[in-house]
């Protein structure tokens, strides 16, 4: 039913007609009684009393019926209004279920005609908001691209300075500048990865059959170096893992999950990266024996800019990127306990 008015009336028309009909029949009966008594030549006292009793009984029945009808009507109206407003509840539930960045228009076919202008206006607003978000993302991506050349220059110059065995104080200063440059480079790349994973940048045409195990193998050099520097035992268990996906986005996903684990696992810890066939598709898992994540906080970690540990250097974008990439690939991302002990296991299951 596509109109609130019709939805309300549907349940009221029948009972109202019934009440009118019953009322009419009763009124007719009641009017006929005195007429019948007038025709009799001399009603006896006993007959009069009987008539009086009958009239009282009819009156009582009438009052009783009115009360029943009144209660029934209130119940019906209550139910009908609730029923009539159900599309509004559905609309609210639709909106409640959305993530902050889900700005697709509402479906006007699913709402009653009275709400169509409201939904149309709302969709207009959503479109403006989503255009704004898109322009902001494009701007960010553009700025990030522009930053890459000067960052490359800075990094190269610092690398050259570093190998000229300068006096200790200068060397330390150079090292600090290098660390700062690395952080800027990482943030810049994260911004780009985030823009790339945006649903409106995601192109189905780029999907291709890929071997996830080979993709992981191709990215490990930097992580092995990072793990050696931090004293973390980084290991692999890579079985054949065919997926359909975007090569560059999946690389971002793999990079961010491994980087995240290396970042939050203390020196002497273990990080294991595995992939292979799962019951319902193909899995990719990164497991560490770090401090773990309390169950209560697991829902938060995928939102942007959330960091569990304020002292670590990171943008807080990594897991949001992972979530976005998993989502556009139709993959399931879960956080669980690492097998045997503390630590956390991130698992992405591809269909």
């Amino acid at each position: 039913m596509s109109s609130i008015r019709l939805r309300l009336l549907k349940w009221l028309i029948g009972p109202i007609l019934l009440i009118n009909l019953a009322g009419g029949v009763l009124a007719y009966k009641l009017a006929a009684l005195p007429a019948a008594s007038a025709q009799a030549p001399a009603p006896s006292a006993a007959e009069l009393r009987r008539h009086e009793q009958l009239r009282l009984a009819v009156l009582r029945a009438l009052v009783f019926m009115e009360v029943v009808f009144a209660i029934a009507s209130i119940g019906l109206i209550w139910f009908s209004v609730g029923n009539g407003l159900r599309p509004l509840h559905r609309l609210r539930a639709d909106l409640d279920a959305r993530e902050a960045d889900e700005l697709a228009p509402l479906d006007p076919a699913r709402v009653p005609s009275e709400l169509e202008p409201v939904v149309a206006a709302f969709n207009g607003l959503l479109e403006k908001v989503s255009d704004g978000a898109r322009a902001r993302q494009d701007f960010l991506a553009n700025v990030a691209h522009q930053l890459r050349t000067p960052l490359a220059g800075l990094k190269t110059q610092l690398e050259w300075l570093q190998v000229r065995h300068a006096e200790p104080e200068t060397a330390q200063s150079v090292q600090l500048m290098q660390a700062a440059t690395e952080r800027m480079i990482r943030q810049t790349n994260q911004l780009l990865a985030l823009a790339r994973a945006e649903p409106h940048h995601f192109e189905k045409a780029r999907l291709e059959p890929l071997a996830l195990d080979a993709l992981v193998g191709a990215t490990i050099q930097l992580f092995v170096e990072q793990a050696v520097r931090k004293g973390i035992d980084l290991g692999f268990d890579l079985l054949p893992a065919p997926v359909t996906g975007d090569r560059f986005l999946l690389r971002d996903l793999v990079d961010n999950l491994i980087d995240n684990a290396l970042r939050y696992t203390p020196a002497g810890g273990t990080v294991t990266v595995s992939c292979g066939p799962a019951d319902d598709g193909t899995f990719f898992r990164v497991e560490d024996n770090g401090p773990g994540i309390p169950a209560a906080r697991r829902a938060d970690i995928f939102s942007r800019y959330v960091r569990l540990d304020e002292t670590s250097h990171g943008s807080g974008l990594g897991l949001a990127i992972v979530r976005d990439i998993a989502r556009v690939h139709g993959a399931r991302l879960t956080v669980g306990d690492a097998a045997g002990g503390p630590g956390v296991a991130f698992t992405v299951t591809f269909p």
């Binding site: 800075l154 690398e159 050259w160 092995v224 050696v228 692999f236």
Partner: protein, 222 residues
Amino acid sequence: MHILVVEDDSVLSDGLARVLGAHGMAVDVVNDGVQADLLLQRPDAAEVVVLDIGLPGLDGFEVVRRLRARGSRIPVLLLTARDAIEDRVRGLETGADDYLVKPFAAAELVARLRALARRHGAPPAVLAMGHLTLDCATRRARVGGRVVELSLREWTVLEYLLQHGARVVSKQQIIDAILPWGDDLTLNAVEVYISRLRGKIAGAGVAIRTIRGFGYMLEPAP
């Protein structure tokens, strides 16, 4: 090795000249595409070209296209600030040999330039790391002055590791290097060769690190 760097950002081109120079390479720098195109018309312009895509005048794609149209086979490494797939594919289709996304580690650039030069020229006669040297012509390995006796397969594994410097190689890559014809060799056999090699190159200032579940890499040892 003679390198031509074509990059319009002066901080980056200056940095590249310094870093590559520090690695013993002779570097020429030009700042725009037109100059690069002119210079590259000389056959001895460079052994390898490092070419930025976003150049004033002619862009990097066009410089490579013209270079290949003249029939030159000088290896070209493209530098790109954009990592859009179109850029990478277009660069390689136009005739570039490799690409690197900015910003990059200098060591990565040097390794790739050496790899490009190796693919196009004669392989190096001697591989070295720490006190370990492999003379590829005589197939003789030395730690300091001492000659190390290696079986053919041990030699192949060590040569393969050294060719990759401090980069991770997988067990499967090692198997493929030992047996290019796809014969069967178990992963365990690779572990045996590695463990024998560890014994034989002890004290060479080079260690073979195991990457659990994946492979090995060489690293400097005390």
